[in-house]
């Protein structure tokens, strides 16, 4: 929803007041009924009309009570931005997993009373397992960026990583993640390696556009892929004339332009 019934989250002290006590009581009773099954709890929330309603475009004012007319308009989390871009770039990103570390674990899994020979054998196996993992890791890279979904990347990521730029937590203290916009985020969308990759032959969106016939169809595919909606007739005519004028490069210009809209970054 983008706003908590207790917001920001606290440790529920004697002074804590939920914004809507009846709603809070109901959610508590549901949570108990489900025996704290979070997945089931979320499934119920996702099926409510409240959750499925259109977002509140005006945003959330922490000084005013929020009556949950629908979710609050909010920017995608760092992980959502990253996974969205990945999805437009490589086929089935969900197939790319962390390199298998079972050999590495086996190498380290020594008994406390291991003999000297056993320890020496492990010492040899650990670097080998590490090398194998590094090699596999390298096959999933583009311009030094590992192309795996956010949940398959190690955390904390280096401070300069795309995910960290977009506000992923540094894992030093809790609640460090953020969805605030910054200048480096825009620079990454203008010029970053992920944007480049998307415009190159072989990317998912490139291939989809390439295989479709006719400008109208192709523009619809681009809008659906990036914004999840059809273009309006005005947008269709602007995009079409851009493509007629710039030829093939025009598709790249339209894709780039849509990635650099606010509409792409916000969840409606």
């Amino acid at each position: 929803m983008g706003v908590g019934v207790i917001d920001p989250v606290d440790e529920i002290t004697d002074d804590t007041e939920p914004s809507n006590p009846e709603l809070m009581d109901f959610l508590v009773s549901e949570m108990i009924r489900l025996d704290f099954n979070l997945k089931e709890f979320m499934r119920i929330i996702f099926h409510t009309r409240t959750y499925q309603r259109q977002v509140t475009y005006a945003g959330y004012d922490p000084a005013e009570p929020y009556y949950f007319p629908g979710p609050v308009l909010r920017r995608m989390t760092a992980e959502q931005v990253w996974d969205s871009l990945l999805k437009l770039s490589i086929k089935s990103p969900e197939a790319f997993l962390r390199p298998d570390d079972s050999e590495y674990i086996a190498a380290l899994d020594l008994d406390g009373d291991a003999s000297k020979d056993e320890i020496l054998a492990v010492l040899k196996k650990v670097p080998e397992a590490q090398t194998a993992m590094n090699q596999e890791e390298r096959t999933q890279r583009y311009q030094n960026v590992t192309l795996r979904r956010a949940s398959e990347l190690q955390q904390p990521l280096p401070a300069a990583h795309f995910l960290r730029q977009f506000g992923q937590s540094d894992r030093e203290i809790i609640s460090e993640g953020s969805t605030e916009g910054t200048v480096p985020q825009l620079l990454a969308l203008f010029n970053g390696p992920i944007t480049h990759m998307m415009l190159e032959a072989g990317s998912v969106i490139y291939t989809e556009v390439d295989q479709a016939a006719g400008i109208t169809n192709r523009v619809r595919i681009i809008f659906l892929s990036i914004l999840g909606r059809m273009p309006t007739s005005d947008e269709m005519s602007v995009a079409s004339s851009e493509i007629r004028e710039s030829k093939a490069a025009g598709y790249g210009n339209v894709i780039w332009a849509l990635l650099n809209t606010r509409e792409f970054l916000f969840i409606q």
Binding site: A63, V183, E235, T261, R262
Partner: protein
């Protein structure tokens, strides 16, 4: 060295045209803040700048600026004499000890919280975290009150963490840099991307974004992107972008600051400040020494000693120290009695912070702790006093009321009083 009016007219004309045609913002409605930056957001003539070195994790007072050689709590850390008669630092800070005449060391800091997140928030904003309001940090205050010094470089930059603009809004947001070695990334466009192609694409983006923008008019988070786009494009075309590049310095200079993240951060801060950025925060983490104090302090202490002494020397040499307040802050101190893991635990009752430059009274120690550095005994300094002191040195109106969007009044000093002996 140039601080203003050093942007050529063609860039200014470009920014104006692109904002008008693509971003849907009227020229008078704020674009002037890039086109004639100095006057748009702040009207002050103050030349003050600030570099905030924030030691995240809580830096030990006994093992840095407030050693107690006569106490059995001192533990394994030795002490050395400083340039100020009768004042000693820990053995980890030899260079700073030799230049202690440039420092004002506050030994009687005390905080009201012993948790990292809330403690850092309080230090950076002078307020406790509350549900309804997010408070701004120093960079945003300086931007708001004094304005920018440079037309295309940001007013404030954070290297490795810091506080956002809070209720002052995105227009006053600092630009974050993750890795000081890499500076600001993605500023180089691919070869085929000429300026006119970039403009063409931005114009398309502006058209496609129109309906969303009209649906979200009045949403502060979305409208905040207007400023971000302006700043990002201004930066891309700035001829002073090299300010972000520490590799433009000779290896000898980089060595002088040290290869630590703090060393590189301080070098980046010095470059940014001399090019006209008002505020730079450099965060340096891992001071949470619950265990292995000796090993940890040897490494962290040396990094701080080298980076800060190099920074002060360079600022002084360039004639910038008088206008640039350098602050070493941390969220609280560490418990004098060492724990069973040879570390020290959290201790908000007493800790040390350091000020230098900015025209303060340097070469002094303010406040005292008891024999074990447990309580701030003499002239205790609250976080609010500390921040009121900083605000005063920065020429900020510390008692003036500023209103959050919900109409609540706040002052920079909050409940604090500036330390007269330092300002």
């Amino acid at each position: 060295m140039q601080f203003s009016n050093n942007e050529d007219l063609s860039r200014r004309a470009f920014v104006q045209s692109i904002a008008k045609s693509c971003l849907g913002v009227s020229l008078l409605g704020g674009l002037e803040s890039v086109a004639s930056a100095a006057s748009a957001s702040g009207s002050s003539k103050s030349n003050k700048r600030m570099i905030y070195l924030f030691m995240q994790g809580a830096m030990s007072q006994l093992d840095t600026f407030d050693p107690k050689p006569d106490s059995k709590m001192q533990g394994p850390t030795g002490v050395i004499q400083t340039k100020i008669p009768g004042v000693q630092f820990s053995e980890h800070l030899p260079k700073l000890a030799a230049s202690a005449d440039k420092l004002a060391v506050i030994r009687s800091m005390n905080s009201s919280t012993g948790a990292h997140g809330p403690g850092q928030y309080l230090m950076r904003t002078n307020y406790r975290e509350i549900a309804s309001t997010v408070h701004p940090g120093w960079g945003s205050w300086m931007h708001k009150v004094h304005g920018r010094m440079h037309q295309s470089l940001p007013a404030s930059v954070q290297v490795g963490g810091g506080q956002g603009p809070g209720y002052l809004g995105t227009a006053y947001a600092p630009v974050p840099v993750g890795d000081p070695n890499k500076g600001l990334e993605n500023t180089k466009s691919p070869d085929y991307m000429t300026n006119s192609l970039f403009d063409r694409r931005m114009k398309l983006a502006g058209t496609f974004d129109r309906s969303f923008r009209s649906r979200t008019s009045g949403n502060r988070e979305v409208s905040g992107y207007d400023e971000l786009y302006r700043d990002a494009i201004g930066l891309l075309r700035s001829k002073d972008l090299a300010a972000f590049d520490v590799m433009a310095e000779s290896e000898q200079v980089r060595e002088k600051y040290g290869n630590s993240k703090l060393g590189r951060g301080c070098l980046l801060a010095r470059r940014l400040i001399e090019h006209g950025v008002r505020f730079v925060e450099v965060g340096y983490g891992s001071w949470d020494h619950h265990s292995d104090l000796v090993q940890n302090m040897t490494e962290r202490g040396a990094a701080l000693d080298q980076a800060l002494s190099a920074l002060l020397e360079d600022l002084e040499q360039r004639g910038l120290l008088e206008d640039t307040l350098v602050v070493v802050g941390t969220e609280f101190g560490r418990k004098p009695k060492m724990n069973e893991r040879a570390g020290r635990d959290h201790h908000p009752a007493a800790y040390s912070c350091v000020l230098a430059g900015g025209g303060i009274q340097a070469g002094q120690v303010y406040g005292e702790t008891d024999d074990d550095a447990f309580y701030a005994d003499m002239d205790p300094v609250s976080v609010e006093d500390f921040n009121a002191t900083i605000g005063t040195v920065l020429d900020l109106p510390i008692r003036k009321e500023f209103y959050s969007p919900s109409g609540r009044p706040f002052t920079i000093a909050h409940d604090g009083d500036p330390i007269k002996e330092i300002i």
